[in-house]
Symmetry: D2
Subunit: 392 residues, 4 copies
């Protein structure tokens, strides 16, 4: 069967959010030729399923239709949302798993009305199957774009093996977060799973092992879009020139729902942890003065600003500074990466390559590795690995 | 003979300048353990001649001793210059080739008192030989750090073949610039030649061919230190993420002698030309709005500031901006690269690899290529090429 | 007659430009309550003619209707231009005075078909009178928003006295620029005249004297909107704290028609001259290293960016730096000032105060003074002078 | 007695700190003509006591001599500290009042060995008297430059009246902070008191009233040096142009002891409160999105960096941004203001003007007012008030 004829469904956790609606609107606009391929890194790769063969569905705590949601997010101008309107309106968010213990600031009424963890898992699995059947899909991939959750204690035994995890599900163990419910449901539905958020999900040992056993591709975590992406570009260059990084101060201001969620200290803590180790790995030594701030600042809406200051020492101990101000757009940077990830985990599944997809580190702040080892963070090396995999 | 015992002489054109005196001071401080290896990219490569085996000499229009010159440049604090004082004071600049037709703002009294081109060539060659003999050197490498010259008409027949060039020397043809005199003298003395300036020099067809015939390594041109270096780091990353560069505005303010020289429109024009094509090659398309400004601004002295603004288009045609402010130090960035180049062309000569050294593109804004083709500009690819050559 | 009933006509030179169309659209939107009073400094002053009593007309080399022009300028989003559409479409640009000797890059077909200077003057005067009669206006004020002209030799005798100027008109003396034609026509029509451009106009001695004799208010020149406005805010503060300004580097990037005009060196020179003295007057001493660059850079359109770097010396000779990046909008800053100026010169005329309006220095980069002396530039002092005049 | 002959002692709380040692070194260098008057706003006012008539003493938890302390702070280069060495070394810090309840991170061994509050007060008073007698001073002024303390509950009755405060002293009430001990001792010694820190001190009602009753000038609080100073320059300008401030994001990075102290949440909270209201008062409305961050970041040492981003709305609701990056030097900005304050409170005492010195608001982030009302914050208005007072 040719690529053109295959149909891949993308079931998004948080389908009514800014990133998801931007991604879906983008596909609609591509279909009608109303936009180009800017921001899509693998538009030139013909072996992947075409963008226009992607079909969307997904869960959201907010049951509003996606056209309305897209207007509210304000990422795209009204006329753009209108142009993509039919495609957006066609997606009705399915009821979602809610757990205020894991994400206080994410609330909504469109909730799966089941309290047992096993019941929630089965509900999510049936959503996936219904989606597959209704749309005549060759494959469903699940992408997590939900709000950042706090992390549970990741050392608990329940998260270490598939067996312990199954038992924890049946025991309604509170260690199991909504993100884990979705990941588990996806893996056991043989649906590739992508975690674009910082939440603990398919990257826990129990689920990595399960994905490996079942041969289901899993990928994550935390999309590398703005400031961290730049960090993994600049730090390798400073290392290349032997300019020593004495300190790196990063601040972010953003005014979208993501920013609001991060006003909760627990969510922020998950986020900051995924940002932490990147720099040291790129440089090969520990930067003692690496400070990262994220502040909710409403005037910007989705138009994030990331300001970095870097203190360098060069030849003869002389000091220099670099300041980078990135006036970026959170969802505009993230949405095309989500589309590429959907195509790439589909490709991995076609190749029969299950478990942690290390070659997709290019997309993530904290790439998961098969053995839990420290991943490569330098963007150009990640790209070379991925291109080599694609060329294979 | 072991590396430790080899002695390599570095004969610098413009030895009294800020970059040269910083490089020489650096070696002195390394010798006494008063500084580290920051800024030296290949400090880890043990196959190269050790830094402390480099011995310095060179030409300058200003005959002042180098300790005095270093104080004047103000790159290093007085106490640092004093610590390196003996080594600096030991270098007495040799009379230099002067030609106001090529560089109006570079003046001085320490001039070779010969008017014929052939006579000047012979004088420079005898300087090299005297240096070799006096210091007991295993090899002399010549490095051009002189002020930027205007470019002659590079299409003139005299610059196309070794034979035509020889004839032009004998005819005192004004097309032959001081930089060409040094390059020709170096090549015919079997001394590897590095052009760290934007001037037309060993990169003209006549001299490239001559270097190839004689098996002498030549390398250049225009050291890639600050803004352009950053450009060749960032542009490949934007390309990697398919972020389209709509425009790139670069301004530089600097207050050292380099800046003063560039107040002359002819010198500035040479400089801007070497900066021009970098971006388009890194991106794979032409950036129509690429503006580069260099302004002399005294308050900064050697502490250059490079401010870049980049306009990007991402997914769905949405606009973003990146601003980079690099508070750098011109000579501090350049000096260690000069030291590495001296070691690397020595290595090439040891390997018997003459002609254009393409693997050294990592160091230059406009790397010379054997066939005159467009060179690679992306810093990480240049580094990979060079590391592979070193590992060979 | 109450203010509410008075009608003031604003005849704009360059009525199809970005600033004029933005100002006119603004009045339309104020009339329908579709915008607030942001950017209008004297919205609280009830003694001035209300914004909504302003009626617009004017000259332009481009005869297109203003709704079309506003769409092309791209200052306002399409839906805003549409909301103001009726008012914009109602203004049909009158044929304008063209002289390529004075502004090479401003071209168009909507030209007064008269070659004698006196004939052009009479034509402009008849335009003003026709406007007054057709709209039933109590007063017409003329505002110059045309493209920057090169300066003639301002020391020529023809520009020194009203008599010499009259003779020059009759002799078709090429010293008389289009801006002078408009200014002379306005003054002799008893219409207050505002020069918002850097061109030499009513500020020449001949016209200042004529305005004084006839009791007609004249005001200018060169609207102080973005970077220079900030300079006149920051410099007085540095002076207040005795922080010595060692250098001030200013660069501007803009992509609108203004920017294109300034690609012509002659126009640029006029512009830079009006920017020059501001800083020294604010500080009380000469800043030797004051550099101002303006570059045409298309990706920005009307969204100008002004980047300033300031080098300061503080206590004990210690150095500091301030960098200011103003992502401003040229026409959005200028248009409301134009509206206020129209109201304020109308007020001056009502008070019977003719000649140079020194109290309006608040609006200009180079405020004209009665005696040709150095004006006050500090924004807060200018504001205090103007507020005192208003309270009088 | 002429000014030249008067001697004023400056007793500094925190005399070994970076600001104090910089101020003292400055006076030494002025005495020997080794520096100019940069940074000293009132160098032109001849009626004040000359800088060189100031004599220094003071308290510090660290008993080290000041030359050593100045070297450690690293504000001034070693050769500058050496030039001022004799004057610095002559100042031996007196034992200081310590209370870890108020400032956890400020520690040291040079402590007044008395536990009762009354005993500490008496000790401080005897220090003042001894200083006065030993140096033959006409007046002693006390300046608080100590580390920021947490605030007590400022609504407690003990802080409301002189009588209640006296009783609290005798009862060893923990509400009495070290800063209050110094302020009370100064006032009851008839020594003018300046609080350059954010700590609660002479600005509590009890001490304001006491100072008023005894006719002792008191002044404060929290020196306005870098970011807040700029805020009180820019905000009035935005107001002047009717540019609405939608949000103001301020971040500070600094690596000196001040920064370290502010890592303690309680001290930071005091600091942030003094920064808060400034903006709203300057603008005349509440900025809902005003965020201020202060982060300890070692690579900078005393070379603070303040980055501000301001979101503005202008004409027709169009959005603009201003970014200000102030690479300043904390102690270099503060020290000259401390010297001016010492001279100005001496002048107030000579004039017999006791109580809160409202005319000194120019120097402070949170100027104290006689009636507790909201003070003026706009820098230029503060300067005009102070200049008028000086001219009086």
């Amino acid at each position: 069967m040719s690529d053109e004829q295959r149909k891949v469904g993308v079931a998004v956790v948080g389908v009514g959010g800014a990133v998801a609606t931007t991604a879906i609107a983008g596909i609609e606009l591509l279909k009608i030729g109303a936009c180009g391929y800017e921001g899509l890194p693998f538009a030139d790769v013909t072996s992947l399923v075409p963008y226009t063969s992607l079909t969307f569905g997904g869960w959201d705590l907010d049951g509003d239709d996606l056209a309305k949601a897209a207007h509210l997010h304000g990422v795209l101008e009204p006329r753009v949302v209108e142009a993509a309107g039919a495609g957006l309106a066609a997606v009705a968010p399915w009821p979602a798993v809610a757990d205020p213990e894991y994400c206080r600031n994410a609330v909504g009424a469109n909730v799966i009305p089941i309290s047992s963890v096993r019941g929630r898992v089965d509900h999510v699995r049936s959503d996936i199957e219904r989606f597959r059947a209704a749309e005549g899909l060759d494959r469903v991939v699940v992408v997590n774009l939900a709000s950042t959750e706090r992390w549970p204690d990741l050392t608990l035994p329940a998260l270490q093996t598939p067996e312990a995890f199954e038992a924890a599900i049946d025991a309604d163990d509170p260690v199991i977060s909504p993100s884990m419910v979705y990941a588990y449901a996806a893996i056991t539905s043989d649906s590739p799973y992508v975690n674009f958020t910082p939440s603990a999900s398919a990257d826990i040992p129990a689920l990595l092992e399960l994905a490996h056993q079942r041969g289901v591709p899993v990928s994550g975590k935390d999309g590398k879009t703005g400031q961290t992406m730049m960090k993994t570009v600049l730090a390798p260059a400073f290392r290349s020139r032997s300019l020593h990084v004495d300190g790196w101060y990063s601040t972010n201001i953003l005014g979208n729902r993501d920013g609001q969620i991060l006003e909760d200290a627990d969510s922020l803590s998950s986020k900051l942890q995924t940002k932490g180790t990147v720099l040291d790995q790129c440089l090969g030594y520990e930067v003692e003065d690496h400070v990262v701030r994220i502040d909710y600042y409403r005037p910007r809406g989705d138009q994030k600003e990331a300001w970095d200051n870097i203190d360098l020492t060069g030849f003869l101990g002389q000091r220099m500074q670099v300041k980078v101000d990135f006036l970026c757009r959170d969802s505009i940077l993230a949405a095309p990466l989500v589309l590429e990830l959907a195509r790439l985990v589909d490709e991995a599944a076609r190749r029969g390559e299950g478990g942690a997809q290390e070659q997709l580190g290019y997309f993530f702040k904290q790439p998961i590795t098969r053995d839990g080892g420290e991943p490569e963070h330098a963007l150009y090396r990640q790209e070379q690995v991925l291109r080599a995999w694609l060329d294979h």
